[in-house]
């Protein structure tokens, strides 16, 4: 019998009212200064009143609030692993580099929280080369990446291996998920990442075998064709995409890298919007998490833009579509 999310979704409906809408985000972007933007968010209930009002504190508090709420609604957070796999692989990369260089860096500065595996466990697995501490697939990739780094000293190659492993794990987690939203998220994440990789490789003139090694296979894109297109540069990638389900990405790519990044995020949010009228499944919870992450990302961009004195137009063109 499938799990009942009626109570959880009703609570999410109540919380959706407090998500920042498009006009609210525009208002934030129109703040005259960094401090005004911070106070705008604080007035909307963002942050922890007991902490000093800074962008880091404010955004960290919001991320914490999101996961505290989801933790109240769903005891088994493994359903949302698909959102955290990238954090695990980021920590794995950091642990491997740390072990390779022998540097002594405070763990909090290297590792991100929120992954499914304790960063200390990842670090110990790498330091002691005891890969059995890691899940099977991750253990295999960790051993391969660390050995590659030890033999070649090529940090970029190590990153490429682990980035691809992260995307493959995300894609596999999406395939295993029993909810459409989680499956769509995984697919869109991998497709967007593959396109970005192809564009970047094309821009810096990477050879075909490197591109093929970096691209994560997925059913939605022909990675061989994408890799060959990457050799011809951004125009060629855009031309390849125009013949796929992701044709609108081609226009965004031609516009600018920032426009493409925005297109990717907007696509995910658009795919999540039908969840606003779904009262029974885990879908609205997943959509709420992504909506929160999206608004936190936008708020971070605005705050960072204001802090660095960027013109409003540049900040605005980076704003994403909001869920509400």
């Amino acid at each position: 019998m499938s799990k009942d999310y009626t109570y959880a979704v009703a609570r999410i409906r109540g919380r959706e009212n407090y998500l920042l809408s498009g006009p609210a985000m525009e208002q934030l972007a129109a703040s005259k200064s960094y401090d005004e933007a911070l106070h705008f968010l604080a007035d909307k209930g963002w942050g922890d009143p007991d902490e000093r009002l800074t962008a880091e504190n404010l955004l960290a508090a919001e991320e914490k609030k999101t996961w505290e709420l989801i933790g109240e609604l769903e005891e088994d957070l493994s359903a949302f692993d698909v959102f955290h796999i990238a954090d695990d692989y980021h920590n794995l990369k950091a642990a491997i580099k740390l072990a390779y260089t022998g540097a002594s860096v405070e763990a909090g500065r290297l590792f991100v929280t929120g992954g499914t595996i304790d960063p200390q466990v990842i670090s110990r697995a790498i330091q002691e080369k005891d890969y059995s501490l890691l899940p099977d697939i991750m253990a295999e990739k960790a051993a391969e990446a660390y050995d590659t780094l030890l033999h070649t000293g090529d940090g970029q190659l190590c990153d490429v291996l682990l980035d691809r492993a992260s995307l493959e794990a995300t894609y596999a987690a999406g395939k295993r998920a029993d909810n459409e939203v989680l499956r769509e998220y995984a697919v869109l994440t991998v497709v967007a990442a593959d396109i970005k990789i192809a564009v970047r490789c094309g821009q810096v003139g990477k050879p075909l075998d490197f591109i093929l090694r970096a691209l994560a296979p997925c059913e939605e894109l022909n990675v061989e064709a994408l890799a060959h297109a990457a050799l011809g540069g951004t125009e060629s990638v855009a031309e390849y995409l125009s013949g796929t389900d992701y044709a609108p990405a081609a226009e965004a790519l031609k516009e600018s890298p920032a426009a493409f990044e925005r297109w990717c995020d907007n696509l995910i949010i658009r795919h999540m919007k039908p969840q606003k009228s779904n009262p029974f499944t885990i879908g609205p919870l997943a959509a709420y998490i992504l909506a929160r992450e999206n608004e936190i990302k936008c708020a971070r961009m605005v705050l960072s833009g204001k802090l660095n004195g960027l013109p409003d137009e540049i900040i605005r063109e980076r704003l994403r579509e909001m869920y509400v």
Partner: protein
């Protein structure tokens, strides 16, 4: 075998009360879970979501009504024990509210849940939100009418 008519009629009455009651319990249960979620976030919505939660409860009452009327005519609470043919007729007469009551209450419960979501996001839309699950009630009322008309004309 001489009481087969009574057994059939009693089975019909039991089905009406049971199935419609089960449907209502499921529907009200669903509504209750959604209402609890809504009230957790917005306690001021309690009276509104309570009404929405209770809407699927009517099918159980209709089932009880039909069962009561049937019992009062077949020699249990009044009337006389029916023959086999009449007992079978009572059984069939009870089926509309039993079956429609079961399914309509479940679907009304689902619609109530959706309406509770609507009220949670837009409390000023309560009137419209209440009408949506009330539409499902139409079919339970039609089934109730047929069951009652059939029983009274036996």
């Amino acid at each position: 075998m001489e009481n087969l008519g009574l057994v059939l009629a009693l089975s019909g009455a039991a089905m009406a009360a049971l199935l419609a009651g089960i449907g209502s319990a499921i529907g009200v249960g669903m509504g209750g879970r959604a209402a609890a979620g809504a009230v957790t976030e917005k306690p001021e919505l309690f009276s509104k979501v309570l009404i929405l939660q209770l809407l699927p409860g009517t099918q159980g009452i209709y089932g009880l009504l039909v069962a009561f009327v049937a019992l009062s005519r077949i020699g249990v609470l009044g009337g006389t024990a029916p023959s086999f043919e009449t007992g079978l007729a009572y059984f069939v007469a009870c089926l509309p509210i039993a079956i429609v009551g079961l399914f309509s209450a479940i679907h009304q419960g689902k619609t109530s849940v959706a309406s509770i979501g609507l009220v949670t996001k837009k409390p000023d839309q309560f009137g419209k939100a209440m009408l949506l699950p009330a539409m499902v009630e139409t079919y339970a009322i039609l089934a109730l009418l047929i069951s009652i008309l059939a029983i009274f004309n036996l």
